[in-house]
């Protein structure tokens, strides 16, 4: 079985640790069952399922460490892999930044596992694909989609007594619907821990509507526009910004958080005062494991509060050097929003552009977090509170820092890519050229 119970996992980890002759040893045991189904041109192209159980053993002598991995769990194999890890460690160069392993930790309990997702079978996947393909076929539209589900556990333990275990499930679904003439394209994306919250049919209906409504788009002049970014559009820019909040890069002078003349911009107000971003592993919409990969506890923490940078992420080495708490990077974040729906945001817009999603986002300048990318699969012109007509896709060059200073309004947050993000209304968003792509 790919999903071991807490007790079963602990038994294996303890057995491994008992073989250790190293100064320190840590063990990571992961198991999962992952399945997928992919379709295009209204037909299934690939589908599969795999299970995996694997063990990574890290041995440490002084500041030298070595890792060996294995998928077999008999005593002989476990001991052999421990010896391998020790052998690799002895030959490894010293890592001056090595930090001694953590002792026992206290973790909060989170609900990341859903039985419904763990029970997905090939028939369920085929049905999910059918529910998406069939309505498209009937309306002479073309569906291309992908669903991936996973159920598994992750356990870590070390020779200092640390032990952590988490069981989780996830399902990711995305669908692109195109019109037969290739002039319209729509998209929807969903992710959940609990598959009973997923309706591939409903998501596909949204993509179908967008495909039909985006056909025969008109060209607008590139320039600065008020935009309403659906969560699928803003998530990547926000995620990239959150991943750039490492304290070491800031201290070293190579981050948007580095200060002119030295120092870092922790505590500075860099955004509109309505911007609040935090992470919370216990959030029921986006539950996360209570620990990070290296065993540090994950807790509720504020990153940006009323527009002010409140916390940065630290490696244990850098935190020790700076004498501060070693806050690990979060997995997923929550951007607080407002109470308005997407429809409300459109209604209150005099002139603007509704963006379904962005595509091919790449960093242009790490100093300013300037990114470029394009709109895709449903871009619409709004006038006097109504969607007037579809428009051709634009290329943008914009920084999330500037974007979050030009905040006009926020709607109700929804789950996207493991985070909670509200639809955002932003003024003066920079579109720099037109694209003919549909």
């Amino acid at each position: 079985m790919a999903t071991l119970t807490k007790e079963e996992a602990k038994k294996i980890i303890d057995k491994v640790l008992a073989f250790s002759k190293a100064d320190e040893m840590s063990v990571a045991l992961n198991g999962s069952r992952t399945g997928n189904i992919r379709y295009a041109r209204n037909s299934v192209s690939t589908s599969g399922e795999s299970t995996d159980l694997s063990l990574a053993i890290t041995a440490v002598y002084g500041k030298r460490s070595g890792t060996a991995t294995i998928n077999e769990f008999d005593d002989k194999s476990l001991e052999k892999t421990v010896r391998r890890a020790e052998e690799i460690a002895r030959l490894a160069p010293e890592n001056p930044e090595y930090m001694p392993m953590l002792g026992p930790q206290t973790y909060i309990d989170t609900k990341t596992f859903a039985e419904s997702t763990a029970n997905i079978d090939p028939d369920f996947r085929a049905k999910a694909a059918f529910d998406s393909i069939e309505p498209c076929s009937k309306k002479n539209l073309t569906a291309a989609g992908y669903m991936e589900d996973s159920s598994g556990f992750s356990a870590i333990g070390n020779s200092k007594g640390l032990f952590a275990y988490n069981k989780s499930t996830s399902v990711d679904f995305s669908i692109t619907v195109r019109t037969a003439d290739g002039l319209g394209s729509g998209y929807a994306i969903r992710d959940f821990n609990d598959v009973s919250k997923l309706s591939t049919k409903q998501a596909t209906e949204i993509a179908m509507q967008k495909a039909l409504a985006s056909s025969s788009a008109k060209a607008l002049e590139p320039g600065k526009y008020t935009v309403i970014l659906e969560p699928a559009a803003s998530i990547d820019l926000l995620q990239n910004m959150m991943r750039s909040m490492d304290a070491r890069n800031a201290d070293e002078g190579r981050s948007f958080l580095s200060k002119k003349g030295g120092g870092i911009r922790l505590g500075e107000k860099l955004f509109d005062e309505r911007v609040n971003i935090y992470s919370d592993p216990t959030n029921l919409e986006i539950p996360k494991a209570g620990f990070s990969g290296d065993g540090r506890p994950q807790e509720k923490i504020s990153w940006i509060e009323n527009g002010v940078v409140k916390n940065l992420t630290y490696s244990r080495f850098w935190a020790d050097k700076k004498g501060v708490k070693a806050t690990p990077p979060p997995s997923g974040f929550i951007m607080a929003g407002g109470t308005e729906s997407l429809a409300d945001l459109i209604k209150s817009t005099e002139k603007g552009i509704l963006v379904t999603r962005f595509w091919y986002i790449r960093a242009v300048d790490p100093q300013t977090l300037l990114y470029t990318g394009l709109t895709r699969d449903g871009t619409f012109y709004i006038e006097k509170g109504q969607i007037k007509f579809p428009i051709k896709n634009f290329r943008f060059n914009e920084s999330p820092i500037i974007m979050l200073n030009n905040l006009e309004a926020m709607g109700v947050p929804s789950r996207i890519g493991g985070s909670l993000v509200p639809p955002l209304k932003i003024r003066d968003f920079t579109f720099s050229s037109l694209s003919d792509a549909v």
């Binding site: 992952t34 399945g35 997928n36 295009a40 041109r41 209204n42 037909s43 299934v44 690939t46 589908s47 599969g48 795999s50 694997s54 060996a68 998928n71 391998r84 690799i88 030959l91 490894a92 160069p93 890592n95 085929a126 291309a144 992908y146 991936e148 995305s174 669908i175 195109r178 290739g182 991943r243 070293e252 002078g253 190579r254 948007f256 580095s258 003349g261 030295g262 595509w359 091919y360 790449r362 960093a363 300048d365 790490p366 100093q367 300013t368 977090l369 470029t372 990318g373 394009l374 895709r376 290329r395 060059n397 920084s399 820092i401 720099s432 050229s433 694209s435 003919d436 792509a437 549909v438």
Partner: protein, 547 residues
């Protein structure tokens, strides 16, 4: 479907390229393990025959079996420290069948007669299950069996035989020289890959291949804390289908370029490049910000390779054209109706773009692809006209051809093979022309070197590219360095603005080591050759911002 580990990197150069992670396939093993021989050919043939017989008896009309041992050694350093050494081995078998006109695929790490027989059974069962909802039965182009053959990347020094210490010493030298010459920070990496692939098919092919690839790279960062600025410069190496000899730094493989720049053909001097990078990163701190406008661009092969990759390589993938990648990478503007006119001007008359899997030292070159097709060279764009695509055995019928182009690849034994890009290269100009002479003819232009930021839409019309180094050209001369440069264009417009291509003496390859495609995503490695090329009147934007 596979278990895949990712090494998270905080270094900027690689992070920007890879979405901050590098895929490592398989189990971490001691370094000596990488030099142990895998199963011998006779054993692999015996195991493959078990699969071929098992699938045939269950009704498969076609079967291929890939027994693969995939080895990786990745080394990561920053300044004076070795951050990570990953030695990984992945060994298993992937079996693909056609039953009831439908593909089925299964894979197992249990490379025993029993494991293979069970896996074969699963592959046929999946094909039969999927056949029930199949709307387009597979039409497979014929491929005559090639019997028992072997192929090996013609390496001089097997990188896996070079002691790890020697590799660390090299990277430490790279780092210390970069720091000595003024870099504030430096990360450097070595990537080595060896694919030991055995392919057998029901056509009667038994192909044993030993494929080697190498990629040395680094990023140096210069910081001006007083001004609150930092700039980076990445290596201008290229990933290659070579052994450790690529790092010999042979003088005969260097090309002198304007402003003291050095280009590298099939031999790379990593320390020399790091020293140059360190100096140039500091120059970038005070470089003039570019006035936006139209410029003639002189693009070095180490830059142009990525533009070729994105604006020609991907749009001419037949699976994209047909819609199989619509939900992820996208489709293509280079549609079949344009190709059928035989007059679609992809570029100007100078533009001849060739696909191949045969060019020496390149990433795409192998003897046979992952469905047993012998590799070849063919034209994609001839005298500016779109003439062909990249296709696999189940696609070429759409082009009216009866032999595959040999573009099938899987990144591991447990990944199903599908259409991947061959080397796609711009042929050099026929007339003698050096980059020095090319620049002499430019009145207002920018000379761009190295791979920078890149973005292109889902049908490959609109793109934006940055670079590593930008030099302003005024009245035929380089007058200084520029900063904040990115150019935007439309693929067809851009290639039609191509006016001059340097000759073969300037030809070099660029490469992409971890090109991603598909769901679940697979990587592949591919080279793009070109000589320095001039494009007239391209739109350049200024990317400088204040936050």
């Amino acid at each position: 479907m596979k278990r895949r580990d990712f090494i998270q990197l905080s270094g900027m150069g690689l992070g920007a390229m890879m979405g901050a992670s590098i895929p490592v396939l398989g189990n971490m093993v001691p370094v000596e393990h990488l030099l142990e021989p895998g199963a011998d050919i006779a054993t692999k043939k015996r195991l493959a025959d078990i699969a071929l017989n098992a699938t045939k008896s269950r009704g498969a009309t076609y079967t291929d079996v890939r027994i693969g041992r995939y080895l990786q050694q990745f080394i990561f350093t920053r300044e004076t420290k070795v951050q990570n050494i990953a030695n990984a081995e992945s060994y298993g078998v992937g079996i693909r069948v056609i039953a009831n006109g439908t593909w089925g695929f299964a894979a197992t790490s249990d490379v025993t007669p029993d494991g293979i027989a069970k896996c074969a059974e699963t592959a046929v069962a999946i094909a039969k299950a999927n056949a029930k909802i199949q709307k387009e039965p597979v039409i497979l182009a014929p491929q005559k069996g090639v019997g028992e053959v072997t192929w090996k990347t013609p390496i001089v020094k097997n990188a896996f035989e070079i002691p790890v210490q020697e590799k660390i010493d090299l990277l430490m030298k790279v780092n210390s020289e970069a720091m000595k010459n003024g870099a504030g920070f430096v990360t450097s990496n070595l990537f080595f890959v060896n694919e030991q692939k055995y392919f057998a098919s029901s056509d009667g092919s038994y192909i044993d291949q030993d494929v080697h690839r190498i990629w040395p790279t680094f990023t140096v960062t210069a910081v001006d804390k007083a001004a609150g600025k930092f700039k980076t410069r990445d290596a201008i190496s290229s990933p290659m289908g070579m052994g450790y000899e690529y790092l010999d730094g042979l003088a005969s493989e260097k090309i002198s370029a304007p402003n003291g720049l050095i280009g590298y053909r099939n031999s790379y001097d990593m320390v020399e490049d790091a020293i140059m990078a360190s100096k140039q990163a500091q120059q970038k701190l005070t470089a003039k910000t570019v006035p936006a406008g139209k410029y003639d661009l002189v693009l070095d092969p180490n830059h142009l390779g990525l533009t070729i990759h994105e604006s020609v390589g991907h749009p001419t993938e037949l699976d994209r054209v047909l819609g199989y990648e619509a939900n992820y990478a996208g489709t293509s503007f280079a549609t079949l109706d344009k190709w059928k006119t035989k007059s679609f001007n992809y570029g100007s008359k100078q533009v001849n773009i060739v696909a191949d899997k045969t060019q020496p030292y390149t990433l795409g070159t192998v003897g046979f692809d992952d469905e047993g097709v012998p590799c070849k060279e063919w034209d994609l764009i001839k005298d500016g006209i779109l003439v062909n695509y990249q296709a696999t055995r189940d696609q070429v019928n759409i082009l009216g051809e009866n032999a595959s182009h040999g573009c099938c690849y899987a990144d591991n034994w447990n990944s199903v093979q599908f259409q991947r890009m061959p080397n796609v290269s711009l042929r050099p100009g026929k007339e003698k022309l050096s980059v020095f002479d090319m620049i002499k003819g430019v009145e207002k232009g920018i000379y761009i070197i190295g791979r920078g930021s890149y973005s292109i839409d889902q049908q490959r019309y609109n793109f934006q590219f940055g670079g590593q180094l930008f030099y302003e050209i005024k009245n035929g001369e380089i007058v200084g360095m520029l900063d904040d440069v990115a150019y935007q264009s439309n693929t067809q417009e851009f290639w039609n603005s191509c006016v001059q291509i340097c000759d073969k003496d300037d030809y070099r390859t660029f490469g992409s080591f971890f090109d991603g495609k598909g769901q679940p995503s697979q990587v592949s490695a591919v080279s793009h050759g070109s000589a320095t090329t001039r494009f007239n009147g391209v739109n350049v934007i200024n990317t400088g911002r204040k936050i």
